[in-house]
Amino acid sequence: MVLRNFVNTGYCLLLICLSGAFCSGQCATGFSSQNIHCAGPHGCEDDVLIFYPIESQYGVRVATEGVDCCGQLITTSYGYSGCQPRVFRVAGMKEQLAKFAETSEVLVADCSGRYVLYDPNRDAVRRNLAERNSALVNDHILR
């Protein structure tokens, strides 16, 4: 979680996967693999093993990278720690976040690493920075 315009909260840089509303379709219970053959310039031929997430409501936070195959980057994924919707079940956590959100823009990471604005009103929680005419950022940029 990242707080903009808010200092010394004690929660800065804590990445949290917020409940299923965020995780749906973006988390993974695991990964599947696939061998890919590529043909590139200068007669290059190669195979690479890539991984892609198996989606589910909850799961592992997914990041994507590119692997080189004959000069072309092919998207592959990996997981880093788990989504922890239970974090938001900690007594007082939601209340404290709601209080922060009254005076600050509170960003929480979803399971794909994108940051979205935390809003105590769950109907508004899906709004993200893109909808507010900002560049969509991800945790790779914010870390």
Binding site: I36, D68, G82
Partner: protein, 371 residues
């Protein structure tokens, strides 16, 4: 199993009647009516000393019940454009071993293509270079943008890296590249069985290699028992030229190895140490296809794509006939690791840790109407 759980690997215990063709479990003579069992699970204690955010099925399992699994990791800064994978194993006694590929002497930029755990060692099929020759490269991203970065541009060759079962590196064997090898396994004698395709016509190939990496012979796949091409083009509107390689799984079966042509109607191919191939045609209902074969020390356990977590059919190794059918209980897992001494072994990952789950099998319900 709890839906909020993350990732999966289960260690499932099935009731004593699970064993293949047990005398005390009647198998109906009518092959069109097989007993249906339900498997349910309960969670065991966390496996200590292992960080496992996500594992990649299918798992591998050796005869002693040790489960091997692959984990994609964040990129290594030294090789930012290569997949960074890590293999770990967990034994029945909860002993954990890892198999790091980045400390192999005299090889650089080691890229894992496949691995196989046997009773005596663990072998990896890799591409690697003999020197570290870094140079700036321009790569094309999926959106056609250009990315610049340093890579090892030295010539890469195919190797088999051999580790002992405790994760200690033993030797690197350079192998003949008579064809494009994508999968590797090893017989108890030390002879390698490799799957790949011919670069010229893309036809699938099975071959045996000596323990020094030299080609012994190509194996004769019976006509019609494998696709004509191992590659399927990936449609792209961005000018890329990629193909999917038909997924194949190697599963040990006694001293033999079974080649599973996943998610196809092609038969299982049982290969013995002499290189003879025997096709096993699974007698599955409704033209169901085998997603994966669950490693087992007795008979074959085929997971097919029925329902949200699938169905498992126990097949007779001799003729592929269905002996039993298993369904997962509500909330069950799709990722059973193996069947060992009448137990189903698997795990679940939660909050980055590995949790064994123990399951049991209900008594059979009415015979399946689809059989």
């Amino acid at each position: 199993m709890n839906n909020t759980a993350v990732g999966l690997l289960l260690l499932v215990t099935i009731s004593p009647s699970l064993g293949a063709q047990d005398a005390h479990v009647p198998v109906p003579p009518d092959s069109h009516a097989v007993p249906v069992y339900t498997i349910s699970f309960e969670r065991g204690e966390q496996i200590p000393g292992l960080d496992a955010p996500a594992v990649v099925p299918p798992f591998q399992c050796t005869e002693d019940g040790t489960v091997f699994f692959n984990q994609p990791r964040p990129p290594d800064p030294a090789a930012p454009f290569a997949a960074n994978l890590e293999i770990s194993s967990v034994s029945v006694s909860r002993e954990v071993h890892s198999f790091p590929l980045n400390h192999v002497p005299d090889l650089y930029d080691i890229r894992q293509k496949d691995y196989y755990g046997s009773d005596s060692n663990v072998v990896f099929l890799v591409k690697a270079a003999r020197e570290n020759k870094q140079a700036m490269q321009t790569l094309t991203a999926p959106d056609r943008s250009q990315v610049h970065g340093s890579e090892n541009v030295a010539e890469h060759y195919s190797y088999v890296l051999v580790f002992d079962r405790e994760g200690k590196f033993q030797e690197a064997v350079q192998i003949d590249e008579a064809f494009q090898i994508v999968k590797l396994s090893v017989f108890p004698s030390g002879t390698f069985l490799a799957y790949g395709y011919d670069k010229s016509d893309q036809s699938p190939k099975l071959a045996m290699l000596k323990d020094d990496g030299k080609l012994i012979k190509f194996l004769e796949i019976p006509p019609g028992d494998a696709p004509e091409s191992a590659l399927t083009s990936v449609p792209s509107d961005k000018g890329s030229s990629f193909s999917r390689i038909a997924p194949v799984q190697f599963v040990p079966s006694g001293r033999n190895i079974i080649v599973v042509q996943n998610k196809t109607s092609f038969p299982l191919l049982e290969v013995n140490e002499a290189g003879a191939i025997r096709a096993i045609r699974a007698d599955l209902p409704n033209e169901a296809q085998i997603n994966t074969l669950i490693p087992s020390d007795n008979n074959l356990y085929a997971r097919v794509n029925e329902g949200s977590v699938g169905t498992i059919y126990e097949l007779n190794t001799r003729d592929g006939s269905v002996l039993r059918k298993f369904r997962m209980a509500e909330g069950g897992t799709a990722n059973i690791a193996c069947v060992h001494e009448r137990k189903f072994l698997s795990f679940e990952t939660g909050q980055g840790k590995l949790l064994p789950l123990f399951g049991s099998m209900d008594f059979p319900a009415a015979p399946s109407p689809d059989r």
